[in-house]
Amino acid sequence: MKNDYEAVVGLEVHIQLLTNTKAFCSCTTKFGTSPNMNTCPVCLGHPGALPTLNKSVVDYAITLGLATGCEIRPFSIFSRKNYFYPDLPKGYQISQYEDPICYDGALEIELAEGQKRIGITRIHIEEDAGKSIHDVDIDTLVDLNRSGVALLEIVSEPDIRSAQEAYQYLMQIRQIVMYLGICDGNLEEGSLRCDANISVRKRGTEKFGTRTEVKNLNSFRNVERAIEYEINRQIELIESGGTIVQHTMLWDATVHETKVMRTKEKAHDYRYFPEPDLVGVSVSEEWMQQIRQRLPELPLARKQRFIEQFGLPKYDAGILVDEQSLGDYFESVVSKLSGKTEESYKLVSNWLMTEVMRILSERKIPASEFELPAEFIAELVDLLVTNTISSKIAKEIFPQLLTSNKSPIELVKEQGLAQISDEKLIESLVKDILSQNSENVEKYKAGKSNLFGFFVSQVLKQTEGKANPKIVTEILNRELNNN
């Protein structure tokens, strides 16, 4: 029954911009100050105060627009979205309505069955409201530090067909805005917010079903869960003979259900009209060109390049590009390798995905704040590839790199950790071991082949782990099996 239906989902994503000051006044956007400290007559909505546009907001909007293949409108205007709310100081939000600054873009998402293109209808600039705090005994409290902080709203086409696709789309947006450095991408803290428009229809039909809007999707998990829930709720309702009503729903993350927040009759009439206090935004070709030149390589393209250029598995490439500075760190290490082979690249990837990422997650820092010079990892991998040290030794000296401020080569020299690869020396050691353990040699030759490991470990023990295990194995084989 469920398979007879197809979900049609569109997402509205709000991202809070990392501009230093608010969208229409010069108040700081820094968090962590006391309530209502980052305010002025403009963002408090005092009588007579007027907004003035922060140009970097437009810069960020164009950046995201270009990164998502949008058309950029040479001239766009602001509008007022009117509604009353205690934390909305002016009684309207400055936004864009007709003719937003960016339109007609798209981005690719990765699915098990391949890539899929999700259209972007529009991206527009708006300002954030303040915060109402209801959970106090006496009253509702209002904090206007957030009032006037710049947002971009990204509206997708109804191209999304499942909760998983919605999840991937949102992840992709998050990665892109973080790569562009325009948003910190934190869903839990509200710097990235998501509402979903959801409807279902019988497979093979063209006409969209009645949609509901689901709000309060404040984590990636909740986005997936809420959409999944709402799709199933709609299918079950239709199957049991009911009809979908165009409500605004709220996701309740504690009981995992969507609940009606507003009925259509109570929907706001926002009475949009052009904002008369601001002049329009003109975007010149030169401005766009400047921004285009500064655009970084985007995560998906970078992943593809990592696969092709470095021969990395898809999995590795995905993890390395997920956070931009980890990818940067990887490229930095790779550029410092003496031996540029796919074997080395894969080793670098392994080291980053295990040892380095473990430390980063322990310290909760991005790779950009990791103090270990990229040269050290490159040297370590070079030493491994040239068989100068064993991976066992490499793992042992890694923690010392972090504490000693010495390079791997220095540590290897200082502590005499270089691997013994001298065949003559190893041969004589092997012969000694075999003659000292003649009983076991007999047993081995009688068929107890698992004793081979014993001989290897004896040789390694003799050399404090420095004998090249590959050579030890070769010589042991020769000595035991040919005599």
Binding site: H46, P47, L50, Y92, D269, R271, L278
Partner: protein
């Protein structure tokens, strides 16, 4: 009260001090209290400013407005001084910042003696809509002084101040100026910063100047005009230099456009008499009179009231009792109910009427029929004016259809009241500069004003013509 130019010479000569003149003004305001022109008198602040002015005069370095006594319409934000907009909503509201014009006049040595009465939030044409009582016409007789800048106009007309600031959204400076017999100037939109002017209709609002002569108007305009980075709608132009310009002799020939006679049909006979006689004077002094055709003049008032109320409905949304201003008693119900109660009790009837009108014309399903259509009509007005000013220096027309009317005469009929703005709203729709100058009196001795309009950013030339016409008429 002596004119500012006379005062300035006397102060420079040391025969008068700003402190004395300010004291005198404060006591005169007290004597004329029955006019109800002032809502707040700031004596101590004014005297402190006056002491500074005296020093400047004593050292021979008077600034452009040194010692000039100024009143501000009480919808212009003054730091630390109550700014009420003549509304119960802001009865006790004390701003935390100065409007740009206040900073500029302070920097030029002006002395603010008080804040004047107005129609609540500048909505009205008779100053009967103030929460703190109507303003009296200086001639008494139960006449209205006009509005909405009634208090500022009366302060000038009664000789209480040298100059007063008003705001002109559809004629609120020019109409009372005409009714009270003073000069009322609305500059080009964007020539004076609106930062700190409590918005009624942002795309139409412009701070305007009231004074007893054009020269004081020009001096004051030069001091406060020019680009302001806090108001993005100000034009990228420096302050004006009109004071020097107005003294140049009148051109031997110039072109004056006039409306077709049919447009003047609604005017009072006395107004027409003054109008035609003054036009004859202009003709005798070198004016070529040409007809002006501005299409759709019957749509001016509806267009204006749609756009102005639409913007007002949004501009006044911030008065919700949450952060400042009047708050109704908090009940057991939610914040929404508190907001509704505060607005119901805090706003007067005319303000509520306009908020409802504006909300209606913006609401979904009606936007295209009203707001969008009005925007188109506005563009037609602008185009019409552009056409007129390719041929003429000045458009000459009455400021109001009638002289001052009686209190209560039009309060029952809002549309009749709105029609008293018939000749003034189009300048706001087009954003062009316009000025009303005293031009004569009615058979009953009531002042009658005539209006001059010019093309956008031709403010200095407009003041120049106004200065000469004023002398020709009086």
């Amino acid at each position: 009260m002596i004119s500012y130019s006379t005062f300035r010479i006397a102060a420079q000569n040391g025969t008068i001090t700003t402190t004395d003149s300010t004291r005198q003004v404060v006591s005169e305001i007290e004597k004329q209290k029955h006019l109800n022109a002032f809502l707040t008198v700031c004596e101590s602040e004014a005297l402190a400013q006056a002491a500074t002015s005296d020093k400047h005069f004593a050292t021979g370095s008077p600034r452009l407005l040194e010692g000039m006594v100024i009143a501000l319409k009480d919808n212009i934000s003054t730091k630390g001084i109550r700014t009420t907009c003549a509304s119960k909503m802001l009865e006790n509201f004390v701003p935390v910042y100065n409007a740009t014009v206040v900073d500029r006049m302070n920097a030029h040595g002006g002395i603010i003696v008080g804040k004047t009465n107005l129609d609540e939030f500048a909505m009205g044409s008779s100053n009967e809509n103030s929460a703190f009582g109507a303003v009296e016409h200086p001639l008494g007789d139960n006449l209205v002084p006009g509005g909405s800048s009634g208090g500022s106009t009366v302060a000038v007309a009664a000789g209480l101040v040298h100059v007063a600031l008003g705001s002109d959204t559809g004629g609120s400076v020019r109409q009372p100026a005409a009714l009270c017999g003073v000069v009322g100037f609305k500059p080009t939109y964007g020539r004076i910063s609106r930062y700190g002017l409590v918005a009624f209709a942002s795309s139409l609002d412009q701070i305007g100047i009231l004074a007893s002569d054009v020269s004081t108007t020009a001096r004051f305009f030069d001091a406060i005009s020019g680009i302001d980075e806090r108001d993005s709608t100000t034009a990228e132009l420096p302050a004006t230099q009109s004071l020097a310009m107005i003294e140049q002799p009148l051109l031997r020939s110039f072109t004056v456009a006039v409306l077709p006679d049919s447009e003047l049909a609604g005017c009072d006979a006395d107004v027409l008499k003054v109008y035609y006689s003054r036009l004859e004077i202009l003709r005798q002094n070198g004016a070529t009179i040409i007809p002006a055709e501005i299409p759709g003049s019957t749509a001016w008032i509806p267009t204006y009231y749609i756009l102005a109320t639409a913007e007002a409905s949004s501009n006044l949304a911030r008065f919700d009792g949450v952060r400042y201003g009047f708050r109704a008693t908090v009940g057991d119900d939610d914040e929404d109910a508190m907001i509704v109660r505060s607005r119901t009790q805090g706003f007067g009837a005319e303000v509520k009427r306009r908020i409802m009108l504006g909300t209606y014309v913006l609401s979904s399903g009606y936007y295209d029929a009203y707001y969008r259509k009005a925007q188109k009509a506005r563009r037609l007005v602008l185009n019409g004016y552009n056409d007129v000013f390719t041929k003429a220096d000045i458009l000459f027309l009455p400021t109001t259809p009638t002289p001052a009317f009686k209190r209560g005469e039009k309060t029952a009929d809002p549309v009749a009241m709105y029609l008293s703005d018939y000749f003034t709203v189009s300048a706001n729709l087009a954003g062009i500069p316009a000025i009303s100058i005293p031009a004569g009196t009615s058979s009953e001795g009531l002042p009658i004003g005539m209006q001059l309009q010019a093309k956008s950013f031709d403010d200095e030339r407009l003041l120049y013509f106004a200065h000469h016409f004023y002398q020709l008429f009086n």
